[in-house]
Subunit: 210 residues, 2 copies
DNA sequence: CAGATATACAAACGATCGGTCGTTAATGTA
DNA sequence: TACATTAACGACCGATCGTTTGTATATCTG
């Protein structure tokens, strides 16, 4: 093996720290997360972080990337196994709800917490978050367009509009499930998207009834 | 006049401080808002706050109430002038979008910022926020039920489900408009709710076409 | 093996945090 | 008029914040 000592250990602890950081940030935000608490949670020292990152902002930027990769692996990738079109579109929404429902992150959703924190605070972190969310929104829009091309959605559909609605109904789960409804929010969100797609789909049998 | 001196001045500055606090909290959250910055913004001293509130949490609780009153005056009240039923329901959504679009609060929406901050943090503030949002959700649900009773919405409608969808599409505007789309988000949100209501309404002429 | 590099730490820095204390002056009450 | 209350302040407290410095050591590179 080429490297089994310092380098690998460094990578490992780097990954471990980022995982903890993303988890904690999903609860208290990326700025609300203090280096002191992160050190306690990872069982290391505050000053040790500066061997990996120049300052807190660099750590925040890497945390955003890490959360994006986690989302790609745990939400996007599973959904891509469904056949392209309206089924994949709904699989995407269900994978998202599963991600929330399983409590993968203690705060529910990293990006929700972070965008609420940084939407009014200019800077590199805000730009990185905005880009990630723009790519996600654009990804949904492409799935809608593909479903239209396959004839699985009415031609009258406005792809950007439908993508906006699906994303809104997904994002809303975090707010509602944590603050009052609990699991009822998941049901509402699932049903809303399902019925919306079934209405627009010439062949509703492609989708579950309920 | 019964009081024109110390008492009234106290009330005035109390209100002025709360207004500033709600505005700042819509940007950086209720906890992200520090007493030092609030003092600077209001042109007073930190220690002066403790003549009005026992500690920061009491100020936060009053800020939640103040924001709730502002919402009632600037969103609910105007919408109540529309005739009951599906028109009032849509007027409610439009009043909300107007509130956001006019930039009444520098951060867009107080409750959005605060619920993202406190949804995972037990305590009195979280409970107060949760109650306010539950009442708001319940208020929308009653408007849906009333529209159904008036025969302006199909009987097959699930009131809680529709209320959830309308609220989700309203809340989402804050995220999207601040982080990427800008005004396009307002258009998407308006259209989504309008078309949803028109589909469910036996007499779509009650609502604008677009 | 020698020297550079990478990982990690404890200790301390100035700044800022929420909060306390003592004081002053204006006002309301008896 | 005498006294209690209220609004507001400056000075200061201990805690915590992000960050810097210096140091020790394990690992790579030559």
């Amino acid at each position: 093996m080429t490297q089994d000592g310092r380098r690998l250990r460094g990578l490992r602890s780097r990954e471990a720290i980022l995982e903890q950081a993303v988890g904690l940030a999903s609860v208290e935000g990326l700025d609300g997360l203090s280096l002191g608490r992160l050190a306690t949670a990872t069982g290391t020292s505050k000053s040790g972080f500066f061997a990996h990152w120049r300052d807190k902002e660099q750590l925040q930027l890497d945390a955003v990337d890490w959360a994006g990769r986690q989302w790609a692996e745990r939400v996007v990738a599973p959904a891509m196994q469904a056949p392209a079109g309206v089924r994949r579109l709904f699989a995407l929404h269900e994978a998202r709800l599963r991600f929330y429902g399983e409590g993968v992150l203690p705060g529910g959703c990293f990006f929700f917490a972070v965008q609420a924190e940084f939407d009014d605070r200019p800077g590199a972190v805000r730009d990185r978050v905005a880009r990630a969310l723009r790519e996600w929104q654009e990804f949904i829009r492409r799935q809608v367009a593909q479903a239209m091309a396959l004839g699985e959605l009415a031609e009258s559909v406005d792809a950007a509009q439908l993508a906006y609605e699906i994303d809104a109904l997904g994002e809303m789960v975090i707010i509602h499930s944590r603050l009052h409804d609990g699991p009822a929010s998941l049901v509402h969100s699932r049903r809303a998207v399902l019925q919306r797609l079934r209405t627009l789909c010439p062949d509703p049998t492609l989708l579950p009834e309920d």
